[in-house]
C-alpha cells in the first residue's frame, strides 16, 4: 500500500472508509439516537471528542503501553474521556443528555473508537493519528446527521425542531420508532453502495 499524505488520512474517513456506511461499525448509537437531528449531531460530536482525545493519548503512550494489556489500557483511556464528555453534556445540555440516555456511556464500547486505536493510533505518530481520528469522527457525525435528518423530517415533519413540511404533512410515525431506524439505515447503506458501484463502473 502506498503511503498516504496527511490530507488523505483525514479525507478517507469521510467517504471511502466511512465508519458507518462502509465499515459498518458503531451501528448501535447510529440506530438508537437518530430520532431527531439535534440528538444525532450531539452524539456525533461527543463520539468525535472521545475519538480525538483517546487517539492523542494512545498515540502518545504507544511505546509505553505493553502489548499484552493494550486493549485494557485503551478501554480505560476511552472510558475516562467518555466520563468527561458525559459530565459535560449533563452540565450544559441536560435535555440532550437525558435523550441520549445510556448511549453516551456506551461510546466506551463503540467499535469505531477501539478499532481506530488498535488499527491506527497505536501504530502512527500523534499528528497522523489526530487527523485520522478527526476524519473518522466527522464521517460518523455526518452520517448521523443525514440519517437523523431523514428520520426527523419524515417522522415528525420538523428539522432541528423547525417545521419544514408546511403543516399539511402527516408524519410517518414509524420513522421515529425502532423499525424506522433499521429501514432508513438500510436504504442509506444501499444508496452508498449504489454510488460506489457507479463510481467504480
Amino acid at each position: 500500500m502506498k503511503e498516504k499524505t496527511a490530507i488523505q488520512e483525514f479525507v478517507k474517513g469521510l467517504w471511502d472508509e466511512n465508519p458507518v456506511l462502509v465499515s459498518l461499525l458503531g451501528l448501535c448509537p447510529t440506530l438508537a439516537v437518530t430520532v431527531s437531528a439535534i440528538n444525532g449531531l450531539a452524539m456525533g460530536l461527543a463520539a468525535t471528542f472521545v475519538l480525538v482525545c483517546s487517539a492523542f493519548l494512545v498515540s502518545l503512550l504507544r511505546k509505553a503501553i505493553p502489548n499484552q494489556v493494550r486493549i485494557a489500557a485503551y478501554i480505560v483511556i476511552i472510558a475516562t474521556f467518555v466520563t468527561i464528555a458525559d459530565r459535560f453534556l449533563a452540565a450544559f445540555t441536560p435535555d440532550i443528555s437525558k435523550a441520549l440516555g445510556p448511549f453516551i456511556p456506551l461510546i466506551i464500547v463503540n467499535c469505531i473508537i477501539l478499532g481506530r486505536m488498535e488499527a491506527f493510533a497505536s501504530k502512527n505518530g500523534i499528528g497522523r493519528s489526530l487527523l485520522d481520528a478527526l476524519g473518522m469522527g466527522l464521517g460518523f457525525t455526518m452520517t448521523l446527521l443525514v440519517l437523523s435528518s431523514i428520520r426527523e423530517i419524515l417522522g415528525s415533519g420538523t428539522w432541528f425542531g423547525m417545521d419544514v413540511m408546511w403543516g399539511s404533512f402527516s408524519p410517518w410515525s414509524v420513522m421515529i420508532l425502532p423499525p424506522g431506524a433499521f429501514l432508513a439505515l438500510g436504504c442509506l447503506i444501499a444508496g452508498a453502495n449504489w454510488i460506489n458501484n457507479r463510481r467504480k463502473a
Partner: protein, 190 residues
Amino acid sequence: MNLLVIFIGAALINNFVLSQFLGICPFVGVSKKVDSAFSMGMATTFVMVIAAMVTWLVYHFILLPFKLEILEYVAFILIIASLVQLVEMFIRKVSKPLYDALGIFLPLITTNCAILGLALNAVLNEYSFSQTLVYGLGAGIGFTLALVIMAGIREELELVDIPRSFQGAAITMIIAGSLALAFMGFAGLI
C-alpha cells in the same frame, strides 16, 4: 415490580436488539448460520447473567458506600472485560466441548454493548439483586431469540436474487426493520 413482568419486558417488549439497539454488531456479524447464532446467543446470555450479578454487587457494596459513582463506567467495563476472560478460562477447564462450541465468540462479547447497556440500565432502573438477575436472563434470551430468527431468515436469503446495491448489510437492516415492526406487536402483552 413483578419479576415475570421484568423478564417478559426485557426478552420481548423491550428486546435488546430490536427495540433498544444494543448488540447490533454481533446481530449483523454472527447471524449467517443458525448454529453459530445460537451458540453466540447462549454465550452472551451466560455472560449477561453473571455480569449483571457482579456489577450489581460492585455498585452497591463498593461504589455507593465510597461515593465513587463517577467511576461507574470505568469500573463496569473493567469488570466485564475480566469476567469474559475468567469465564473463558473456566469453561476451558470444566467443559472442553462447550469451549470448542463457544470458542471464538467469547472474547467478542467484551465489546458487545448489550452487556454494558444491561449493567447501566439495571442501575438506572434501581433494580434489586433478584430483579437484576431476572433482567439479565430475560435480556439474554431476547438477544438469542432475535439472533436465531435473523439467522433463519438469512439462510433462506442466500437463495434469493437481491438487487446489487442492497446485498449484504443493507438487506440485513431492512429485514431487521421488519422484525422490529413484528416485535412491536408484543407491546400489548402486559
